[in-house]
């Protein structure tokens, strides 16, 4: 009974450390190069023994996509450009769809055929970027929605 309890505590501790990033998995080195499992040296998250536990815990707590920043600029022709940067906290590749809608100065949605659901993906434990260009110079703001890819 005690052995089972201690084993469970050990496993949970490992998983917690991994989720806190202390396993050192995919921490970007100085020059921003991402080394994935199977390429880099083994870490807690990629080691053959601890990997199933770490990955299972990640799935259990529902790690997924997080957005770091959304930057808008106006290009030389007067069209707003959008760059959304985020990262995938999950160990698995995440495929999802996004739709960008553009708003004018009154907050009204600009009617455009470019506001469609587009597919993108983020590799496991990796950053990603979504870029969009407004089709009208009247666009001064945006809103973006996401959804899982329909199965």
């Amino acid at each position: 009974m005690r052995f089972a309890l201690y084993t469970m505590l050990f496993v949970i501790t490992l998983a917690t450390l991994a989720s806190l990033g202390l396993c050192g998995c995919n921490a970007p080195p100085e020059r921003g190069v991402m080394l994935q499992e199977g390429v880099a040296s083994d870490s807690l998250a990629s080691n053959i023994v601890t990997k199933p536990v770490i990955h299972a815990f990640s799935g259990l707590i529902g790690e997924g996509i997080e957005i770091d920043r959304a930057i808008t600029r106006v290009n030389p022709d007067g069209f707003m450009t959008l760059e959304v940067a985020g990262h995938n906290r999950s160990f698995d590749n995440r495929v999802f769809e996004y739709k960008v809608e553009w708003l004018d100065k009154d907050g009204s949605v600009i009617d455009t055929t470019t506001s469609k659901w587009l597919q993108t993906s983020a590799a496991g434990k990796s950053p990603f970027v979504i870029k969009a260009v407004a089709p009208r110079t009247a666009a001064v703001d945006f809103r973006m929605n996401t959804r899982m890819v329909p199965k």
Partner: protein
């Protein structure tokens, strides 16, 4: 007696099993992907192309707007695609952007060309033209020639993926050409890939 009724029962059972007809929610379609090209694929390709073209700056003309014609869009797929299905969306967005004006007088295809442009001129130059008020007929030398042309191709490649699966790749290619000097100022390609059972036909 019962044996004679079985075929009728089967027919009614099959007819009764057909699902109801429903309209597609084209705004938030959650339907499954298909091996061929559907309206969602054209929407995605058009959206990507328009954003690339507008973002490239190739359509910016100092002090005015370019006159753009749609050139030849080749369909090199196994499907009977009306390429205007793609170009209609691109043309609309380009015009609404305020950067260009599209012309209906010269086109690579036929559907975006307005044949009335030349019908009225044929009338003007014929005996029928005498029936019209002469100042209401179109004068010669009024049409404006295009300065840029958008042309391209839709390609399809079928690849055997696994024993019972196939991969179909659709390549949407568009390019922008300056009709004065022949130089190409923009080009882009969008790939839409599908994987599915090799029993499904991609057309």
């Amino acid at each position: 007696m019962i044996k004679k009724l079985i075929p009728f029962v089967l027919v009614f059972a099959i007819l009764g099993c057909e699902g109801p007809t429903e309209n597609i929610d084209t705004i938030n379609d959650q339907g499954k992907a298909v091996m061929g090209l559907d309206y969602r694929d054209f929407d995605r390709a058009a959206s990507t192309m328009v954003q690339s073209l507008i973002g490239s700056g190739a359509l910016k003309k100092e002090g005015g707007k370019y006159v753009v014609a749609t050139g030849r869009i080749v369909n090199d797929t196994m499907q009977r695609i009306d390429t205007d299905q793609l170009m209609a969306k691109v043309e609309k967005e380009l015009m609404d952007s305020g950067l260009v004006v599209m012309t209906s007088s010269v086109t690579g295809g036929t559907s975006s060309r307005d044949s009335m442009l030349y019908d009225v001129r044929d009338i003007r130059d014929s005996k029928q033209g005498e029936e019209f008020k002469q100042d209401t007929l179109q004068a010669k030398g009024q049409l404006i020639a295009p300065e840029l042309s958008i042309s391209g191709k839709i390609l399809q490649r079928n690849v055997r993926y696994e024993n019972n699966r196939q991969q179909v790749e659709y390549y949407f290619q568009l390019q922008l050409t300056n009709l004065t000097n022949g130089l190409r100022s923009w080009q882009n390609e969008t790939i839409i890939g599908k994987r599915g059972s090799d029993k499904l036909v991609p057309w």
